[in-house]
Amino acid sequence: MSPRLFLQVASVEMRKRMSYRVDFWINAFVGFAAELTVAWFLWTALYAESGKSVIGGYDFDTMLVYYVFVIVFSRLVRGTEFEANVSQDIYEGGLNRYLVFPASYFGLKYAQHIGGLFPTIVQTGAFVAFWLIATGGAGGESITPTGVLMCAASLILANLLYYAMSFPLHVTAFWADNVWSLLVTLRFASNLLGGRMFPLVLFPLFLRNANEWLPFRTLFALPVEALLGRISFDAWLQGMAVGLVWLVVLAQVGRAVWRRGNLQYSGIGI
């Protein structure tokens, strides 16, 4: 797929998303505010009940900073619409249109995914800037240019990795009548093991060790830890390597399932 086509598809998707301006901002603000409020109440209670000022190496302010970034980054990693698209294309026959196009379906979908992310990137920038200005900094953490670069690289990998993780699940729609439960399972597992629910340092040691070899940590914890400087360069590199290996494996799995599923496809909808 040519870069020009990729950009064109992404641009169309971006314009499409921006055309719903009210929905665009309400969705972003309400979701962000609700999640952060829940985290605030929960951790206020936990710190008060435990009588500790530091839990798992995080004081209350830093914990909130962790949540601010993990909430906005998870939007960048997951995107907003891709999850509903591929399996829906298969169920409803929307795939027919793409199969006739002389272009890769994966490529077109990923370009749409990236295009759909653009508004989220704008929102993320706005939220982070607002938070940093409102609170006067990132808690007790120092954000360095190196940390920003490591975080950016992690986010790119995490975005690709989540796409590669969810794609084979969507493609099972060729056989299954409903893949919703698989997607919910992925969301739950990635939230829990990816550090989206709480910092991974709160897990027991054996689980933390095992999780280092799974793909989930790369999704949310790695970018946030890199940004906040809570991970060494070597540990970050190892996390990236694990994520990269999983990306290659999952891409191959996705490709194999796609090929197999295509033989089953009946093109419902025309």
């Binding site: 598809v9 169309v12 499409k16 929307g94 006739v100 025309i270």
Partner: protein, 342 residues
């Protein structure tokens, strides 16, 4: 056959013994059926296309006619490369469609009347730009084709309107533009006029004929509107139960299958007393007719006798003898097949 050989013979679509079997799961009704289906489901094979053969030439519009579930759309989907067959072979422009080579996909178009191809939330012009990139249409050719198609279909002023805000007819015209911008050599049209008003149907038929004259693509058209078929296709394939039951000129359908004719007697306007028509029922079936008109459907070999009786028994001002319309003939073919198979 190589592409070059195909070009020489101008056969653009070649189908041999093509088959498609779908497998569907059956679930018994009710709660118990739902519970049982969690453990074991009954799998049923449905032969949608049963070993069909077909050749379509350059510039030909082939009409594919059949009732719902006959296998028309399945055949089109295989030829467009959307689904894989269960057996047999097909070559479209020298390519096996379901291998989906980009070179093949750049030369075909699929227009689905029941399924929007364009992006609903964007103006059609934005969608066309995207298709320009997908099909790699050079700038100059794109501008020329878009201007031509939009003008002929009379939608130039709607190009910058969001697709979702267009009327059904305007939307279908935009779909046609989207499908033809890249000048495909093979076009599959699946119910292109479905749901449209008569004016829009006519406009689309006229456009398709003009397009065929100019570009000479091979086209396969499926439609439930016989007017589409009669106006656009010289050759039709009648398909039922996944089998071709007729493949030949449209005009020969009447000769082959029409066993009856319709005699219309136009009576003199000043006929005062009510006329008793029961005497004519022995010749055939009396059909509903206009005032001062008698319509009688009779077997072909009884036409002369029935016409003579009408002329002798009624104050006839004019008399016409017509073939049954093609839609009626085809409907009867399907009805008779249903009766035979049951």
């Amino acid at each position: 056959m190589t592409i070059a050989a195909l070009s020489r013979a101008s056969t653009m679509i070649r189908v041999r013994d093509l088959q498609k079997t779908y497998y569907v799961h059956e679930k018994a009704p009710g709660l118990w059926g739902s519970i049982r289906s969690l453990v074991a489901r009954k799998r049923i094979a449905k032969q949608a296309v049963q070993g069909v053969n077909l050749d379509v030439e350059e510039g030909e519009i082939l009409g594919l006619v059949g009732p719902n579930g006959a296998g028309k759309t399945t055949l089109v989907k295989m030829l467009a490369g959307i689904i894989h067959p269960s057996g047999g072979d097909a070559q479209v422009l020298g390519h096996t469609p379901w291998e989906r080579h980009n070179d093949f996909r750049r030369q075909i178009a699929l227009i689905m009347g029941q399924k929007a191809q364009l992006w609903w939330d964007l103006p059609a012009a934005d969608g066309f730009l995207l298709l320009k990139e997908i099909y790699r249409v050079p700038d100059e050719r794109y501008a020329k084709n878009l201007a031509y198609l939009a003008e002929v279909l009379d939608v130039t002023k709607h190009l910058n309107v969001q697709v979702r805000r267009l009327s059904l007819g305007e939307r279908m015209k935009m779909e046609l533009i989207a499908a033809l911008l890249h000048e495909p050599r093979v076009v599959f049209l699946d119910e292109p006029t479905i749901g449209l008003d008569l004016t829009a149907q006519r406009a689309i038929r006229d456009f398709l004929l003009a397009y065929r004259e100019e570009h000479r693509p091979a086209m396969i058209l499926t439609s439930h509107y016989m007017e589409d078929i009669e106006r656009l296709c010289k050759r039709i394939v009648i398909i039922d139960g996944g089998e071709f039951i007729y493949d030949g000129p449209l005009e020969r359908v009447a000769k082959t299958y029409a066993t009856q004719k319709v005699i219309t007697a136009h009576l003199r306007a000043n006929v005062g007393t009510p006329i008793d028509l029961t005497a004519f029922e022995r010749f055939g079936e009396l059909l509903p007719a206009e005032e001062n008109e008698v319509k009688l459907r009779v077997a072909r070999d009884a036409v002369a006798e029935a016409a003579a009786a009408l002329l002798a028994g009624l104050p006839v001002a004019d008399l016409s003898i017509d073939e049954e319309d093609i839609g009626t003939i085809i409907e009867r073919i399907f009805r008779e097949r249903r009766v035979e198979s049951s």
